[in-house]
């Protein structure tokens, strides 16, 4: 076999590897990208019940209700960005850092009844921390103008009025 032919084989093999990697990435992206949506996004454009997405916002103070169903703990709470609310149902142990009045990100699907069925609840940070996605959702809902200084304390967010709140 000549050197040229060998090089051709090698190049073909490389192209095959790269090609399959690209194809795999693209198909996996198509099925598995998870979008972030705020309650306002959901009010504007209701997503179908088949696609999982991340819902983020603040846990409305006083909305958390716990119950037990067949030995399995169930939690229901309301996630808000000030303008709109979504009720979330979660069967499982809420993370240690889950608090009413604080930011939360949940992963799951929106049921036909409008209740978000969460499979995961992420609240991994300390209480002064605001997940960037949630902070962005709050800014978009008109509660906070970043030009007017730091965000107000998280626990007061869901009592603010849209448009009036902020700096």
């Amino acid at each position: 076999m000549t050197r040229k032919k060998k090089r051709l084989y090698l190049l073909l093999l490389c192209a095959l590897g790269l090609g399959s990697a690209t194809a795999l990435t693209l198909t996996a992206f198509q099925d598995n990208l998870v979008f972030f949506r705020s309650p306002s996004d959901i009010a504007r454009d209701v997503p179908g019940p088949e696609r999982a997405f991340r819902l983020g916002g603040l846990v409305e103070t006083g909305s958390l209700a716990r119950s037990t169903e067949a030995g399995r703990p169930l939690a229901r709470f309301v996630v808000t960005d000030g303008a709109h609310q979504v009720t979330v149902a979660f069967g499982g142990v809420l993370p240690d850092l889950f608090r009413e009045g604080q930011g939360v990100v949940t992963l799951g699907k929106l049921g036909r009844d409008g209740v978000f069925q969460a499979s995961e609840v992420l609240a991994r940070h300390d209480e002064t921390y605001m997940p960037p996605d949630v902070a962005d959702a709050l800014r978009r809902s008109g509660h906070w103008n970043p030009n007017q200084g730091a965000a107000p304390p998280a626990s007061s967010w869901n009592t603010l009025q849209p448009g009036r709140g902020g700096g």
Partner: protein
Amino acid sequence: MIPELGHFTLGLALALALAVAGFGLYGAQRAQPRFMALVPPLAAGLLLAVLASFLCLIASFVMNDTTVSTVVANSHSLKPLLYKISGSWGNHEGSMLLWVLILALCAGAVAIFGRNLPSALQARVLAVLGLVATGFLAFMLATSDPFRRVWPPAVDGNGLNPILQDPGLAFHPPLLYLGYVGFAVTFAFAIAALIEGRVDAAWGRWVRPWALAAWSFLTLGIALGSWWAYYELGWGGYWFWDPVENASLLPWLAGCALLHSAIVVEKREALKTWTVFLALLAFALSLLGTFLVRSGVLNSVHAFASDPGRGIFILALLMLYVGGGFALFAWRAQAMAPTGVFAPVSREGALVLNNLLLCSVAAVVLVGTLYPMFADLVLGQKISVGPPFFNSATLPLAAPLIGAMAVGPFMPWKRARLWPALQKLWWVALLALGALLLCLALEGQRVGPALGFAAAAWLIFGAKAEFAQRIGLFSRPRAAFGRALGLPRAAWGGVLAHAGLGVTILGLAGMGLATDRLALLKPGESAELAGYVYRLDSVADAAGANFAARRATVQVLRQGEPVVTLLPEKRSFPLARMTTSEAAIHTTWLRDLYVVLGEERDGGVVLRIHNNPLAPWIWLGAGLMALGGGLSLSDRRTRVAAPAPKAQAVRA
């Protein structure tokens, strides 16, 4: 006084690093032996200066000097001593200092153990390391000085994030950094080779030990991090495809490819350009990992502070080193003509396939890690890429890699035939198929874990078959023992590392069968999972050094017989105003019994119970891989790092 001393030695280190870079590059270029002779002592001085600075930082933490802002932000007088020490690198500033210290250690090692290197090569390698150290020292002094004073002194520190107060995590960063920074040395060798325009077998012989050492440390570091996530975070998971985890996986994949292709350079003088490219890539990915974690781009526990100034500085360093390295590569790569030729089906060909697949996996992981950031910046979309993406995109690439891993070592160099190699593996294939069918029969339609068990059997018994072949176990059984003793340690290492990956996959496959349940129990009640009965006896208060805890006593029974008493805890740290869960884990090696204490209500507690089959083997396998790397490293031929007689090279 001590912090000032630390600050001063840091500045001194910057000056020394600059001197190493300047004298090394100039001396080697102009062939000035006097300048080149200056470089190793200067590198040793750099090591001493950085070490002194690091010791000053540890001293500040141990004495709890509350006039130093890093100490105030991350330490507390009540913290146990181990975490006072580990806390010194459990924050941004300290971890950068650790990074530079390890870089200086590597430079010191090249200066001391590299005496038999050609002096120009040694000078250039040290110069490149000095250049990297210069950048990072300047970064520290400009944006993240670990010794900044605060006035008036704080009453006491704020304490270290409680989930970082753990022995596993105390050693995770140093191991990981040993891996990251080890690739700086292979990078430096690659740059030196590009400047000289010469890559030969001797170069491969010098590069491979560094690649091996870095890769082994990185393996241990990743395994320790994953183990920590498993027992400390209390979700029962071991790998979350978190960007920070991916940031450490990427250099591991590139380093794995590098240490394999360096074999080809060493033995056959082929694949030179490609190996140099991989050496650049491995360090580029290490730097990218540092950038991702340290710049605060990622929102995770690892990003201690997000400060755009720091991010831009590290990004500039990344551009400088990586861009500079690849530009030099583009300019000089033609100079390296390959001499060894080989047929597509041969040991070399198998190693090319290995490299190609490893790089494809790395490319997929890189895209999945960076795409959310890209989408946020460019498209303004908030997207996350989770485990389903990585699983479905990397597993199809990992499958042929694992398939080839057992076959490759049976192929001779230069030219081989596939069929004889496969014939030696028929019983291995049979065993793998048996594992697949057995798992399907026992566990039902669980294709993923079944394939995992098959892959594990294929790798473990494949390694065994290779070993048996090398010592002639079947052809000349009597001499086999003697031959096993005479086998070069590098061969033992390779077999062990391949088997280690098999053991890890065995653990992963077992975890694919993991089950869990939640149970709301009152004292005296019990719940059952996978044949074990978990009875809650009591819940009581317990006190620790710097936390208060609620501790449940859970008696585990199997067929009425007590197995073990588990004590899961929920700790609350008043200082950090944080609560953490301490999972209680009992391992039988066949499975982990894993219990997490949840919230308390209605006079009972919520327990999350996991049954994790074969879980400990994941980290045990990683330990085996690292051990294999270490064994290979202890081989006389790599240790001496001098051109060996021809006969010896051919035998291996």
